[in-house]
Symmetry: C2
Subunit: 211 residues, 2 copies
């Protein structure tokens, strides 16, 4: 057992807190503030107070506000990516799985609603030119549709590229509406819409109860 491992560049290691964990904690406080007050309310002081750290402490982890906001947004992307990829790795039967994945893309729990709200704020303000970036949703939908088509599960006459665009718009539109009016649009209604939409494409329709 050596006294100082490779990544320990100093002989003395005083007061070590998990650097990444602290940064993530501050980033999540940033989300909370953004959801509550919007980007304009996401001041370093408000974030520090929400995270329960002092201004100097926050500044110790993020040397500028822009760096903090970029980190907070990248963390959203990371979380969403993980969620999507986990779903795509699922190994169930194609039709039901595809619908379940689509339903998971709609932000229903508080956590994913926060993520989506923050994401929208960033995209709208195009802070780090997020407008140009991809959010991964389109790629996921593309994979789903292509997979279904290549598996021969879609009606032969469907135009895959067209249906990708249509489904992508439908999912983002539903997600947007849920975010803006969560009470008006119930989870059951969303489910009905998506199941019905996919059933118009499937060669062999699935029962809504089987989802």
């Amino acid at each position: 057992m050596v006294s100082c491992p490779l990544f320990c560049y100093n002989r003395y290691m005083p007061k070590i807190v998990d650097h990444e964990k602290r940064k993530k904690q501050i980033a999540e406080a940033t989300w909370t503030i953004i959801v509550k007050k919007g980007i304009e309310g996401a001041t370093v002081r408000a974030i520090a107070a929400e995270a329960g750290v002092s201004l100097g402490s926050l500044r110790h982890y993020f040397s500028s506000q822009e760096e903090l906001l970029l980190y907070a947004m990248d963390l959203v992307k990371e979380r969403v990516s993980i969620r999507i990829n986990r779903l795509l790795q699922s190994e169930d039967s194609p039709e039901q799985i595809s619908i379940r994945i689509l339903l998971e893309l709609i932000p229903y729990d508080a956590e994913s609603q926060t993520e989506m709200s923050v994401w929208f704020h960033f995209v709208m303000n195009s802070l780090p030119h997020a407008r140009e970036e991809e959010d991964g949703i389109r790629e996921g939908i593309e994979r789903i549709m292509t997979g279904l088509f290549e598996g021969g599960l879609l009606k032969k006459e469907v135009d895959v590229n067209l249906e990708i665009e249509r489904l992508y718009a439908l999912v983002d539109g539903l997600a947007l509406h849920v975010m803006l009016h969560p009470k008006r649009l119930s989870k059951e209604k969303i489910k009905k819409v998506i199941v019905h939409h996919m059933n118009t494409l499937f060669h062999q329709p699935v029962e809504e109860a089987n989802i």
Copy 2:
């Protein structure tokens, strides 16, 4: 010819500029700033500079920033409402007209893209509790679908309420995607998607060329 009409409550009328026109000019400058820099960049000084008026002059028309922002948003609503109502009053044949109306809801010209971008900014920041308000789009789509159904132009098996929700999400999703990636999503692609979508509902499909 009386020397002082009814709406002239003072005997003297010095330097009259069109009050409403000036307010709208300033409100439009507000839009420009919001599109360029987001709500956070919509400071009274930036708006005054964009409108080409002094700070004191701006304040002469709007006694607070909040009043200005509310006015700017109400003006967006007014403009959008006028656009939608004008479309709904059209008296052509049902199927093509409905598709043309839907296509008009997608912001393609710079003007309507500005309006939509500003609208989104306001809605996201829920400044005047805009989240709860209706934007008129849903009502318009509801009228379109109901009209088509009652005219017997839709397939008998369609669930109207379900299709309203589906079409509403599709249109808003397309609008969102156009706003975020105007280059990726061409007007022709939008047209194809909407025509195809409506043709799955129409008893008698329409040719894309006839739109």
